[in-house]
């Protein structure tokens, strides 16, 4: 389970989308989100469906993983659909009398809006999770660092942000293990984390949290000493083992997405 955390949702693979540059993928994902909220016409939704299906196919990510990513969103998706279905005013096609002047109504407009809303949210989740499904967290951090680099001039510490993320990713499993260890050690000394009312339970957290913080400080101190003694000094002039390189693939992906956006926008204007 701990290993799952650091990998995130990443599914290793060799597909076209996996091999795209992380920077390109991040930018294109933003374009995808923006265009999704611009479109309004039914035909554009149809085109978008095809486009998303094509992306999923190209990524070669097993469909099960994508469905797994949808699971936490299930509630909000169904909630949205149901609310829109019953709350939209318009031409009634089905109604159910409850009591007094209260009745449930489904309207033609309600069905249309519910379906479009559902599709919009669905594609938002699928499209964006494709980014995290095909890019490992470390590659994403690298990509973010590179994308933030132009903002260095106005004082955004891009390298430091990326380094902090890497440190956090590296230490999540370690600290989770540490928490577990301290919990067991305190239980062996008679600490009780599982009974009593809420105040008592919350109080029981103190003997867990104080050692946890102290040990985190100690770790941070050790790491700082180790980095300083190796003369670490941040991003300037630092070389990397794996250089990020945009290839013909990235150009193709960029061109396809641009073309697709143009088609959608033209549709939107004409219709």
């Amino acid at each position: 389970m701990l290993k799952d955390i650091t990998l995130g949702q990443y599914v290793p693979g060799e597909s076209f989308i996996h091999k795209l540059d992380a920077r390109v993928k991040i930018v294109l994902t933003f374009v995808y989100i923006i265009i999704l909220f611009i479109i309004d016409q039914t035909i554009n939704y149809a085109l978008f469906t095809i486009f998303t299906a094509m992306l999923v196919f190209l990524s070669r990510v097993p469909i099960g993983f994508i469905l797994k990513g949808l699971k936490p969103m299930l509630f909000i998706l169904s909630f949205t659909a149901v609310i829109n279905l019953f709350m939209t005013q318009g031409e009634t096609i089905w109604s159910y009398h409850i009591v007094g002047s209260w009745s449930l109504e489904i309207t033609k407009e309600g069905i249309v809006i519910a379906v479009l809303m559902l599709l919009r949210l669905l594609y938002l989740v699928i499209g964006t999770s494709l980014l995290t499904l095909t890019t490992s967290p470390l590659m994403l951090t690298d990509g973010i660092e590179k994308l933030l680099e132009p903002f260095k001039k106005i004082g955004v510490p891009s390298h430091e942000i990326a380094m902090m993320m890497t440190i956090a990713i590296r230490f999540i499993p370690t600290l989770a293990e540490e928490t577990d260890k301290i919990m067991k050690a305190q239980m062996a000394r008679g600490a009780d984390f599982e009974s009593g009312n809420i105040v008592r339970r919350a109080k029981a957290m103190i003997p867990l949290l104080v050692p946890l913080f102290v040990s985190a400080f100690r770790r941070a101190d050790d790491l700082a000493v180790a980095m300083e003694s190796r003369c670490y000094r941040g991003g300037d002039n630092r070389t990397r083992m794996k250089q990020m390189k945009a290839t013909y693939r990235d150009a193709v992906a960029g061109a396809v997405v641009t073309l697709f956006c143009l088609v959608l926008i033209v549709n939107e204007i004409i219709l």
Binding site: Q9, M87, T128, S129, I167, F171, I198, V199, L212, A216
Partner: protein, 183 residues
């Protein structure tokens, strides 16, 4: 922005990791299970100071959005459309304010720490509710009234977090001598 030292950078990263771990420690209580995220983000502000505390929460938020399952219900960019995402943004700002207020004096009293924590709490809840309202009304088209919003997002959730404020003040008081050793 001043130059970030190596130590500050490491502390930030570690606190982001701690917050992530805090989201896993669940205390089961009736109605809503509550996690220690809020406590850790508050502690980040208290222990690292305003800017660095907010920075560590920001890193945590970023990692969660990048797909690590470290939020209460998983992670991923899709989390943005969840109405509860506002609380996480609130954590970030609350961490800054709490840290700023509490670290104004060298050795803060309980009163100051608690005050700072409660101001943080108010920020988290107001941002959380505003975000909830905006998402419900404008993004997913499901209008929610002000009163149900208040009941669901405030009254049911706040007792646990008030408790966390008290506890974090207790823990912080104990940790002051320790953090001075490592600074």
């Amino acid at each position: 922005m001043k130059k970030i030292t190596i130590k500050q950078m490491i502390f930030c990263g570690l606190f982001a990791a701690l917050t992530a771990v805090g989201a896993f420690i669940k205390i089961p209580i009736p109605v809503l299970p509550f996690t220690l995220q809020f406590l850790f983000t508050m502690m980040a502000g208290l222990l690292l100071g305003g800017e660095m505390g907010a920075c560590s929460v920001f890193i945590y938020m970023f990692l969660g959005l990048a797909g690590l399952p470290i939020f209460t219900e998983g992670g991923g960019i899709g989390y943005i459309i969840k109405p509860t995402f506002g609380y996480i943004i609130g954590f970030c700002i609350a961490s800054y304010v709490t840290g700023k207020i509490a670290n104004k004096v060298k050795n803060p009293t309980y009163k100051r720490i608690l005050g700072a924590n409660f101001i943080g709490l108010i920020i988290v809840y107001s941002l959380g509710m505003i975000y909830y309202y905006i998402i419900c009304n404008f993004v997913i088209n499901a209008p929610i009234g002000v009163w149900p919003l208040f009941l669901y997002c405030f009254i049911l959730a706040i007792p646990g977090d008030i408790l966390l404020c008290l506890i974090s003040a207790l823990i912080y008081k104990r940790l002051i001598p320790v953090i001075n050793l490592f600074r």
